[in-house]
Symmetry: C2
Subunit: 607 residues, 2 copies
């Protein structure tokens, strides 16, 4: 279906908004009146600009407080509307959004509302303009789409139809099935927005917390399906007011918006579906980049990793323990940051389909710098810049195994099996702090591009602010990524990343690491006093956890033990042991871990 976006969804000047919408592949825009009023471009110039960019002006919006008013007020409103029809003729826009009145002047009188809309529509028709009447969730008398439709039906004018808006409908809990009772040709426009479920004043909710479909909690897909079944054939148009988008980069927001519509069309079974998603089956590797590899090498050795290979043509080493693989690269990397988690290898059954899927969903493909003979590793960039490589390990004969690019290094080096393995079996999860403006974009990206399932959003207390955290994972938990976001833009965006390794015996692992001087994070004794109060753990078990700085959590499915290394550059490691199907990430303990890191950091003295 045709795809539109309201200019209010994007930041910048009107001209910048049009450019961004066109670049992301939109077919049209809704022009938000305030954007035009504040623009230095005349309506004729906006019309030309849009045409040059290949954008239709699908809607001009909004016209407020029009209907169900005493005659004298209606006469003023008709006069006001004439001014707007004139602007629309100059713009070349033929549909005007009329939203249900919020004015104290409005009377609770459907017949009067219908009559005034009929008169307005008659005037509009003279200018070649159609009116799309929309029920605002906080309208004075008209708040539901079916009520708006009854009034439109009674007004009975060919230039009058309804505008449906998923936010206004779903925020009030209206049943969208009734949309199918409206004749498709009387649905003049469809605006889409999602939102997280927050119990708050619906006007504030709408103004600040709307998000793109797939980023919130509403069933926007279902609503679209009902509307299409009703016979609607107009554009799917995104109208999202959001404090984050207002500040973000318009070009980037427009791509996020388009990805949302593509995913929505696929879910609703409309439009041309993209290549089906190819979910990864696990982590092939995590890649650390650093100008100076000394510190991470020492830590990997202490953790029981062995350097098993070196890239044939690049300064990249493969470190391995069980099925946990870490690439350590000294190519690139910012000396100031130290080690950074720059890339993830995703085990992917069908690499070429995965790349096509990612491209169809507008994921930027990372330019490949590949020497002859290297395995064809394809990568796309996640919203935070992390490179995601689609690859296969231990591939069947004939297929390409990326580890072949890392011939074995001679044994018995200092990076060999000196310490011995510590029982690490695989990468359990990675945690990636996200730029503040890109948190919702990231969760939609991982869902749309990789088919990962987003978990619920959690607030974690840090000594200097709340962190929001949301995990995305495969259904079977074989691949988990925890996305974290700082409390505000510009604040501490350079929070550490981490890689969590799984083990089947965390006490043995912690004991080994302590013995090798791996520097596990010290956990305060007060934490164990509280653990003793909260859970009836045997005293000797508690003493053991305290001795090694192991944190504990449980959920309805099982138990979780975890401990942390010191931070090296931007990265630290976690060792985790899941038992009995525990599903979380130890969020309960995050405040203690963050405070302990703050203390260890020494940035500010704790003692």
């Amino acid at each position: 279906m045709r795809k539109s976006i309201a200019t209010v969804s994007l930041s910048g000047s009107l001209s910048e908004k049009l450019t961004a919408a066109a670049a992301a592949g939109f077919d049209g825009v809704e022009i938000f009146e305030n954007d035009l009023i504040a623009s230095a471009l005349s309506p004729e110039e906006v019309r030309t600009r849009a045409a040059d960019l290949g954008l239709a002006i699908d809607l001009y919006q909004p016209f407020r407080d029009a209907e169900a008013v005493p005659e004298a007020v209606l006469v003023r409103n008709l006069r006001r509307a004439e001014r707007k029809f004139a602007v629309m003729e100059r713009l070349g826009a033929d549909t005007l959004l009329v939203c249900s009145s919020v004015s104290p002047d409005a009377l609770d009188d459907d017949a009067l509302a219908a009559e005034s809309l009929h008169r307005l529509a008659a005037r509009a028709a003279e200018h070649g303009v159609r009116l799309a009447y929309e029920a605002l969730a906080w309208g004075r008398h008209v708040r539901t789409y079916d009520h708006a439709w009854r009034i439109v039906e009674a007004a009975d004018h060919p230039a009058l139809g309804v505008c449906l808006d998923s936010f206004h409908i779903l925020s009030r809990g209206s049943d969208p099935r009734g949309i199918e009772d409206i004749p498709g040709e009387k649905i003049f426009f469809l605006q889409l927005a999602d939102a997280p479920r927050i119990a708050m004043d619906v006007l504030q909710w709408s103004r600040h917390y709307r998000c793109f479909p797939g980023q919130g909690d509403f069933d926007v897909t279902g609503l679209v399906a009902h509307t299409v079944r009703a016979g609607y054939a107009g554009p799917l148009s995104l109208e999202v007011f959001n404090d984050v988008f207002r500040q973000g980069d318009a070009a980037r927001t427009a791509v996020d918006a388009m990805r949302s519509l593509l995913t929505l069309e696929e879910a609703a079974g409309i439009g041309t579906p993209p290549v089906p998603v190819v979910p990864p089956t696990g982590f092939a590797f995590a890649e650390l980049v650093t100008a100076d590899t000394e510190q991470p090498r020492a830590l990997l050795r202490a953790l029981g990793f062995t350097r098993t290979g070196r890239h044939a043509t690049k300064p990249v080493d493969l470190w391995q323990q069980g099925a946990a693989r870490v690439l350590l690269s000294s190519a690139g990397g910012d000396r100031r940051d130290g080690a950074t988690l720059a890339a993830l290898g995703l085990e992917t059954p069908d690499q070429s389909a995965a790349v096509r899927r990612a491209e169809a969903l507008l994921a930027p493909v990372v330019p490949r710098r590949r020497a002859a003979g290297d395995a064809p590793l394809d990568a796309v960039a996640a919203p935070d810049g992390t490179e995601l490589f689609f690859c296969r390990t231990d591939a069947a004969p004939g297929a390409v195994d990326w580890t072949h690019d890392f011939p074995a290094v001679p044994g018995n080096t200092e990076d060999g099996e000196g310490g011995g393995a510590a029982g690490i079996t695989r990468i359990d999860h990675v945690a990636l702090p996200q730029p503040w403006h890109q948190f919702d974009e990231a969760s939609l990206f991982y869902r749309g591009v990789l088919g990962l399932v987003p978990d619920e959003s959690l607030d974690l207390a840090d000594p200097f602010g709340l962190l929001r955290s949301r995990a995305v994972s495969t259904a079977d938990g074989s691949l988990r990524i925890a996305l974290n976001v700082a409390p505000g833009p510009g604040e501490r965006e350079a929070r550490p990343q981490h890689i969590a390794f799984a083990t089947d015996d965390i006490v043995a692992a912690a004991r080994l690491l302590h013995g090798r001087g791996a520097g596990l994070l010290a956990i305060p004794g007060n934490y164990y006093d509280d653990l003793a109060a909260r859970y009836e753990l045997p005293p000797e078990r508690l003493a053991e956890l305290a001795a090694w700085g192991i944190l504990y959590d449980r959920d309805a499915y099982g138990e979780f033990h975890h401990c942390y290394t010191a931070t090296v550059g931007r990265v630290f490691f976690e060792i985790v042991q899941r038992t009995g199907g525990y599903r979380g990430y130890g969020a309960q303990n995050a405040a203690v871990r963050l405070a302990a890191q703050h203390a260890a950091d020494g940035g500010r003295p704790v003692r």
Copy 2:
């Protein structure tokens, strides 16, 4: 009365929180359990640290989900409580906050609740601990303070009383007069927090939007008065969870908190009142500081100002037009920022009382660098660093007039009456962008220190985010300051400041300025098309406004016309004309002005 603060109200480690509370003059703290758990200090070390700082540990909090549960659960809860009593003995804390249960295990049975609290209190008493039972606004069965009191009364144990919390009481709209029915000695603790009126889920509201008394919309003063009348003699204790404070500087937040309690005591008529407030009666001057005065001088000349004096000992010029005075200083100033509005002179009838008031409310006094013979100008620093000078112009004989420090300069210089006055009569208002973390602090500062009245908070749309704006002013409008804040920390905090000059004929002023090439901000034609639709202004009037780039607004009291100069450094000027008692600042037009400045800025191309 004694003053306390909960550690959860401050950022950082527990040790940092204690230091900040003591430095701001608090007598005690409530220790939030999670702060202790995450601390590397043992309870004994915390006790010693607090004692060294002169802080009592007035409360340990919270103990959750204790009461009205089946026997087996209660036995577990008693065991859990014993662990906490042991921690409290080590801490030297004798009062534990018990908040009403939110657990699904809790039964709706007041008799059972009373019985379980009685048993808990009996155990507590063995450890010398008292329990303060508090109704959480979102408790499962107990949500109001009178309900909590009925249960405490029925439990009838000397170690059991109630804790009152202004947020929980006022957020639910409970009538605080009933507090006077509780015997004072059974009110074990009083926690204070304010909040803006937001219609949202009360738990989220409480967790993220609490603020200090005087910064929100609740009548905390009235609640305190009722509690004191009931006979309560314990501490006034601030318990404020807030996303801003969590990120702010603990020392600064603690001072803001103490200022809130001092203002509250004064309003409630308890404690020792500070020196009465001395509200200013107008602006004596606004001072611009810049390393290079060329651009602001040219603009002041074009605006019709005359250089009438130069400071006897400093490189500071006095520019004047009517009763509008601008100081232009080339001492200091950051070359990169250009001109900055660094100080305001406030007409003050009793300077010495004003300074004593400011000091009593913890306003930092600006060190004076005064030459012999200079008028004794006393200044304090506002939260954003703006210096506020208490001074008098045209003082009665015997009193000191600050303008005497600016002897007249020889006439006929290039800065003389070349252009001629443009009808500017006085400074109408100044607008000061605030650092994100200090917006609420600033409005409380101006209210407490200067007796200014805060206006309601408004959201203004900028091309790159919403701006929050709140004005503070004297009751008669003789002095007005608009405080603005960027949408997030770190974002565009260096927004321009501005000075608005009043005139009685804005068209004449604008015509003059245009003629002198003062470069008024260009306002888009679309704005005037919309003005024509919104108001029935005569066409010739509209044409005149459009010709000079004058914006228009009206309210219930009168009309407002205003226009803007170009920005010089961090500062621009506004010319305003108020007629018929208009009270606002043209907020309606802010989005157009901001977009026009964005376009003029050329930072990003508009065309």
